[in-house]
Amino acid sequence: MVRVKIFGTARLKAGVGTFERDVKNVDELLDVIPNLTRKEAKDLVLLVNGKPAGRRYRFRDGDEVVLLAPAGGG
């Protein structure tokens, strides 16, 4: 089970900030994000336990995943 947190505009679209899912890897996770298509999810920056992670990353139980979009502003 991994705990997923979404930030930025993606969170507004997803309509949920935090959720838990039983997924094995990043590829599986991309399909289960509420209200986001796989294509949209693929364009989010992904961090696992605070560190950048690639598409091939395999989750361990209890991992905390963060998804967010690039941002800018003063």
Partner: protein, 647 residues
């Protein structure tokens, strides 16, 4: 002086407040070609007057309010104006770029700029209507907060039919009147926030300036400009930052990204992450408090928020306020920040400097250096403290001086987080080395925007190596110059984000984005060539609509290279004026906490490698080892004959 160029009204007025004498100030087309408008035009005017002996609170100081040629042209986000003066906070030139309506109405009144000097014999407000200047007694509005002041002024501008004449205004609140060193000038809900411009206006006993008129801003090639503007608006609306993130979350939307990248200033810049950041984030603001988005005139970005506080709809906080009055003082109560943000605007104080001064005071108290009663996370009394600062009562009288002066009195210089006396913005630079260099070298002091805002490459928009010093100096120079020119032209700096092609922001995981992130630290040599010989960029960049827009509006030939060069001229001119007031390499400094203490004890790179970057930066800028522009550089930029003649 009338102009052959579009975008200019062709008139600059100088108002001597002591004698109430109004005269036209000569600003020629040759000056316009070199110094464009906005902060650069203001620097030219200040440079012609300042010898280095003037004081901020003296009749020798000038408060220069300028517009750019794009102001009121109909181009996106082009309602900006600029206020420059000798800062009481830093002792150097400060400039503050502001949105709202005033710039547009100043041009409607037929003016490109206003130069205010001297001191009124009693509180006064000035009305400018179609170039005509009328002085009014401000005895009845002196002491009022900024919202009340602007309402009272609207009543005074009511016409016979009962309607308020359409106008733009700038005013100060009690903080400016009482010379709080970081007081600001307010225009509607927008703020010319940094460097203490409000205190200079307060010292002048000038409560407000209202501008109105019915003149039209001339546009050189209206047909092409209208077509180009449509395209430009569309581009900004489709860009992920200016069309999605900023409209939907405002600048507050950056909090979570900053947290993830360890650049969220927490507990007076002790840490780069705040455990309770979600409670004071842009997402929380949007979901629970945001009522409607607002924008300045002709702005498609609409980054401002309107929120509800105590049943009243008011302007929501920007990122800086949210972070520095949130994690900065270990406060996780968003509602309190909304309230304070409103209160500080009403009092007319810069939220960044005020928040950082409070967090310095809290740490000084915690460390036993100054028994002032302020404690991290204990915030019940803060509203009262803000009032005390604005009215210079009790402890507020000392807090009104800012963190630099307080650290000189009580100690703790290593955690008084300022550069040149002006407090830093909310980005913790130990994980954004380039921004650290920007803070240190910024002409107006600890400013992220005047500093080049490299943090957008260092983890926010792109993911360049955050702590390396490689490539940072040259990129900082490029972005400082670019933003200098956008500001001079009279546009919002947020339009510069479209400089980054949309695919890079839309697809952060694509191979080309990852490649650019990897390559950026090694781009220094290429960027240096562009910085040194910008004339080779003798074209318009497809993603950068500013140059064509400028050309169509003014009729001046403008390429990307010219654009950068004009920015470079402005940056060097301010530096050259600051030289007269004693700026040098030693003044381009950051507190030891940021350059010597590691943010993460396990990461030896988690501090700002400032000296290494400064060396490369000075070389790139054509400055000597002491951080001063060489004669050759000043000649190349055609500044020399202007700035040294006053010596």
């Amino acid at each position: 002086m009338a102009s052959k160029y579009g975008g200019y009204m062709g008139k600059v007025l100088k108002i001597d407040l002591t004698s109430r004498q109004v005269s036209e100030y000569p600003f020629s087309d040759e000056d316009r070609e070199l110094y464009i408008g906005g902060k650069t035009m203001a620097a030219k005017i200040l440079g012609d007057h300042m010898t280095g002996k003037e004081k901020a609170f003296s009749e020798d100081n000038l408060l220069v309010v300028t517009t750019g040629p794009m102001t009121g042209s109909g181009a996106p986000s082009s309602s900006r104006f600029n206020i420059s003066t000798l800062s009481p906070q830093t002792g150097y030139i400060t400039s503050s770029n502001c949105g709202g309506h005033f710039g547009y109405y100043l041009k409607k009144a037929g003016l490109d700029a206003l130069i205010l000097t001297g001191r009124c014999d009693k509180p006064t407000w000035i009305e400018i209507q179609n170039e005509k200047v009328i002085f009014h007694d401000a005895g009845d509005i002196w002491g009022m907060k900024t919202g009340e002041t602007q309402k009272a002024l609207d009543d005074k501008l009511r016409m016979k039919n009962g309607r308020v004449r359409k106008n733009g205004k700038i005013c100060i609140g009690p903080a400016g009147e009482n010379l709080v060193l970081y007081s600001c000038i307010v225009s509607n809900e927008r703020v010319s926030g940094r460097g203490g411009t409000g205190a200079v206006m307060g010292w002048m006993r000038l409560k407000a300036v209202c501008a109105s008129g019915n003149k039209e801003v001339p546009v050189h090639d209206k047909e092409k400009m209208v077509k180009h503007t449509r395209k430009w608006f569309r581009y900004l609306r489709e860009h992920p930052l200016t069309g999605n993130q900023l409209p939907r979350l405002g600048t507050a939307g950056l909090v979570s990204a900053m947290q993830m990248k360890h650049i969220l200033s927490t507990k007076n810049y002790t840490y780069g992450q705040f455990d309770e950041f979600e409670k004071v984030s842009g997402e929380e603001l949007a979901e629970k408090y945001n009522i409607v988005n607002k924008g300045c005139l002709t702005c498609p970005i609409r980054c401002a928020r309107t929120v509800e506080v105590n049943g009243q709809q008011v302007k929501g906080p920007e990122l800086e306020t949210l972070v520095l009055l949130g994690g900065g003082i270990l406060n996780d109560n968003l509602e309190s920040i909304l309230k304070w943000n409103y209160e500080l605007d009403e009092l007319g104080m810069d939220t960044i400097s005020c928040a950082n001064t409070i967090s310095y005071a809290m740490e000084a108290n915690e460390k036993g250096l100054w028994d002032n009663g302020l404690k991290f996370s204990e915030t019940a009394e803060l509203s009262q403290i803000f009032e005390d600062i604005a009215f210079r009562r009790g402890i507020g009288d000392e807090l009104a001086l800012g963190s630099k002066r307080l650290s000189e009195k009580y100690g703790g210089k290593e955690f008084a987080i300022h550069a040149k006396g002006m407090e830093l913005a909310a980005y913790e630079p130990r994980r954004a080395a380039g921004l650290g260099l920007g803070y240190a070298t910024s002409n107006r002091g600890g400013c992220h925007l005047n500093g080049g805002y490299l943090v957008i490459l260092e983890g926010l928009g792109l993911s360049m190596n955050q702590t390396t010093y490689h490539g940072k100096a040259d990129l900082t120079m490029l972005f400082q110059d670019l933003m200098e020119m956008i500001s001079a032209a009279g546009q919002c700096l947020f339009t510069s984000y479209a400089f980054f092609p949309a695919p890079l922001m839309k697809h952060p995981n694509a191979w080309y984005t990852r490649l650019i992130n990897k390559v950026l630290p090694y781009s220094g040599a290429v960027v240096r060539i562009i910085n040194k010989y910008p004339e080779i960029a003798c074209f318009h960049l497809p993603v950068f609509h500013h140059t064509k827009g400028f050309e169509y509006t003014t009729g001046m030939k403008m390429t990307f290279g010219n654009y950068i060069r004009c920015g470079e001229r402005g940056y060097n001119l301010e530096r050259e004026i600051n030289r007269r007031f004693g700026v040098n390499a030693n003044k381009d400094a950051l507190p030891k906490r940021l350059t010597q203490s590691l943010q993460d004890p396990d990461d030896p790179d988690s501090r700002v490698p400032l000296e290494k970057m400064k060396k490369v930066y000075y070389h790139a800028r054509g400055w000597n080892r002491d951080g001063l522009p060489t004669e050759r550089t000043l000649r190349k930029l055609k500044i020399l004959q202007d700035t040294r003649r006053s010596e």
